[in-house]
């Protein structure tokens, strides 16, 4: 079989990090190659180099044996968000990618289009209504539409389809449906690259697997030469198994945050306690519910069931204002959308949750006192430049923005602080400063919860880390068990549980 995509000796360095170190990857016609590795292993960098988003420092990418071919041509990427319009039908979505020319203004032959769409879908062993709006289809069916759209324009068979975490949003038999479709793509002579964290699925579908760790290829095996256990071993590696130094010597105090069977669209009943002075980490794969837990506890969205208590007092669910009064603070992962009002100044953002202490007798805000107080807190968390409380939030760098968001909650002397990806998009120096800050907050007696996909971060910060899978806590690591290797293993090595009919405490939660 001819080689369709060949990346040879790719090296890519970012300031301070060698993201890809002499990585080679080839994809043959009809082959399904899985690319696996933990967060930070270089998978996404490699994909971005293939897509031409990043320019590699050295090495070259050849598509269908022709180095002169334009970058990205013959390569089709399907990302998690699929890039479809949910309000339109399958037919209409397929139509969007076509070059129409004069036909753009002429009436289209609806019958021909319908037949065409059905035929395309049928190639993937799928039979759903091509005239229904995508919003009414299942996630797997939408993925199939995205693949069909990518394939629709293929004139030659020399094409490579790259699927980035295609199953993150899928459950149960949906995965099987999608895999049938992927197999038929390969059967038609295309090459397929699947990036996935779900190793059981990788074992099921991949003809060949390429394992990345720390920017290097650490293993490449053909079907039959690998199983889930050997993949876990490759991804985790030997290093990182050493017991970390015991930095958290303080004895945790009484329980401050108590979460009881919290359930929403993604969470299927989470029980969790965080004590005063304790830093608890939350991790898991994408789609496991880890990305929602902190927000759900804070009440960013209304949960389906369950309760949250701070210092033994129940907090009304789904109302951030009540959560703040109860002593909670929430640092969301998407700073610019949820963490701050970026058009307002640093001072205005800092004081927004609690303006009452700044009110004068006549009811207005004491602007001088506000600036003074903002400067005090910004100095406390180390925002640079100093004395910049009057500056608009969006003009700060990522690290400083994050410090301001944290300072906003520190000012409230929080009993419970919930942080999501606290150091995402933050430079190395600011990262260390933020970690230090989080440790100090806990030392001052707060209960701290950190959701992160960065294993190293969790190891440095946390006393205990819980791992979520399918909306439930499946592992809890602390003390000597809490090593990077153990954590990565607990995250990726969680087989899909069988349909549990007996243990459905929260009907509806899983299917909502």
């Amino acid at each position: 079989m001819p080689v369709l995509l060949e990346a040879r000796n790719i090296t890519k360095t970012f300031p301070g990090v060698k993201a890809l170190d002499d990585v080679s990857l080839s994809v043959r016609a009809g082959e399904i190659v899985a690319l696996v590795g933990h967060n930070g292993s270089g998978k996404s960098t490699l994909v971005k180099v293939l897509a031409g988003v990043y320019q590699q420092d050295s090495g070259n990418v050849t598509i269908a044996g022709d180095a002169a071919r334009k970058h990205g041509e013959g390569l089709h990427f399907i990302h998690q968000d699929l890039g479809l319009v949910p309000q339109l039908s399958t037919i209409e979505n397929l139509d969007l990618s076509r070059t129409l020319g004069m036909h753009a203004v002429l009436p289209s032959s609806r019958r021909a289009e319908r037949v065409h769409a059905r035929r395309l879908i049928a190639r993937f062993n799928a039979t759903f209504d091509v005239e229904a709006r995508l919003a009414e289809l299942t996630p797997a069916e939408c993925t199939i539409v995205a693949i069909a759209r990518a394939l629709d324009g293929w004139t030659s068979s020399e094409n490579v389809l790259v699927l980035d975490e295609p199953t993150a949003a899928l459950q149960g038999e949906e995965v099987g449906k999608l895999f049938d479709a992927v197999r038929s793509v390969a059967a038609e002579g295309a090459g397929v690259v699947i990036i996935s964290h779900r190793l059981d699925e990788v074992v099921e579908i991949a003809d060949r697997v390429v394992v990345l760790r720390d920017g290097r290829v650490v293993g490449e095996h053909l079907r039959g030469e690998f199983d889930q256990a050997s993949l876990v071993q490759l991804i985790v590696g030997e290093a990182g198994d050493d017991v970390r130094e015991e930095i958290h010597s303080r004895a945790p105090g009484e329980v401050r945050l108590a979460v009881r069977s919290l359930a929403d669209q993604r969470l299927a009943g989470v029980d969790l306690e965080v004590r005063s002075g304790e830093v608890v980490g939350v991790t898991g794969l994408l789609g496991s519910g880890m990305e929602r837990l902190a927000g759900a506890i804070f009440g960013a969205s209304r949960p389906l069931s369950g309760s949250v208590q701070v210092d033994g007092v129940p907090v009304e669910p789904g109302t951030p204002a009540r959560s703040i009064l109860a002593g909670m603070g929430y640092v969301p992962s998407d700073r610019r959308r949820y963490g701050a009002v970026i058009s307002m100044t640093a001072a205005e953002n800092l004081t927004l949750p609690r303006l009452a202490p700044l009110r004068t007798a006549t009811g207005h805000i004491d602007l001088r006192a506000e600036t003074r107080e903002a400067h005090r807190w910004m100095d406390h968390v180390g925002v640079r430049p100093a004395r910049s409380a009057e500056r608009v939030f969006s003009l700060f760098s990522g690290g400083n923005q994050q410090k301001i968001v944290i300072a906003k909650w520190l000012r409230n002397q929080p009993r419970v602080l919930l942080l999501e990806e606290p150091t995402q998009g933050v430079d190395v120096a600011a990262q260390a400063a933020i970690h230090d800050l989080i440790a100090r907050i806990a030392a001052d007696g707060a209960a701290v919860l950190v959701s992160s996909t960065d294993t190293k971060e969790l190891i440095t910060l946390c006393d205990r880390v819980v791992v979520l899978h399918e909306g439930r806590i499946t592992a809890s690591l602390s003390g000597a068990e809490l090593t990077e290797a153990a954590l990565v293993r607990a995250t990726i090595d969680t087989p899909r549980p069988q349909q549990e009919n007996t243990e459905m405490e929260h009907p509806g939660a899983r299917h909502a």
Partner: protein
Amino acid sequence: MPETTENQSPITSDGGSTGDRPIAEERTSRWSGVRRHLGFRNISAVYIFAVIFIVFAIRIPDTFLATSTWRTLLDNQVITGLTALALIIPLAAGVFNLAIGIEVGAGSMFVAWLLVDHGMSIPVAILVGALSGALIGALVAWLIVKIRIDSFIATLGVSSLLAACITGISGGEQILGVPSRYADFGVGNVHGITYSFLILVATSVIVWYFLERTPSGRRVYATGGNIEAARLAGVNTTAVIFGTLIACGVLASAAGMLLTARLGNADPTIGPGYLVPAFTAAFLGSTQFKGGRFNVWGTILSVYVLAVGVKGLQLSGAPVWIPDAFNGASLLVAVGMAKYQGPGGDYFSIRRIFRMDRPATAAVTDQTSA
């Protein structure tokens, strides 16, 4: 994996501070601060005003520089000014009120109807008029927050309903014979300054104080800046939207009642004419002083800059279609300027509103539904 979002916002033109050199920064920032405050970007309307003033002062000094011209000018813009003030309250919270013109018209008709057709006493009629304005505001807010209709559509629909009400109670005719005591107030003055103008000044101060000095005003701006982030910071965004629209309704209806007093009658066709001037002033005003934030003094300044421009053109014998053309062109230029203005990017309230991403409905309902 290093995220490349870092370093995307190096220190820009604003402030001139560099962080690495705190001492140098102290010195330069004072200068650049002054420059920024007096720069064209920050107070363009003042410069435009100066240009308009000089041009007409040279071309038509006799009429343009007469005291009476200016006295009438100040007085004539009171209703537009009040309407624009009413408008910026919900705009600051990210809510578009396209019914603002007709709300003024409804206030005008309703008070005349109560006074003339129902013979109500003046204080009761004013109270009922204000209350009806509050009800209209509450209705709009309810449609936006609870029924989750986009503010454009909700206010467009309500404005048509109000137009029907106006025609309904008036039969499409003017209401004449407003009590003279009521009409006298509209033309009364102290030392040549009309009561109307004093009302505008007082209202400006109150709205300014509320929006820019009180905690509630801060919450309004936060809601307009990013409704979801505001909610997560504990702001009751539902209350903010209700409050701003009710305040807007009361103020618009007050403007209408004052209009009836000034005219001595009520005209069913008069309201919609205030829509475009009010929006023009609000948007041009948002580019003044506060770099993208709707604010009182920028709005009032804009009302008068536009009025002086129109007046000068009229006095130099420009055709009758000039006011409309001038207002329309100014609105487009004001919004265009805001889009290209300023450091750092897409945080302008105008820009956010025009993204049409349902600012008011999307998140508020999150907490109320489910």
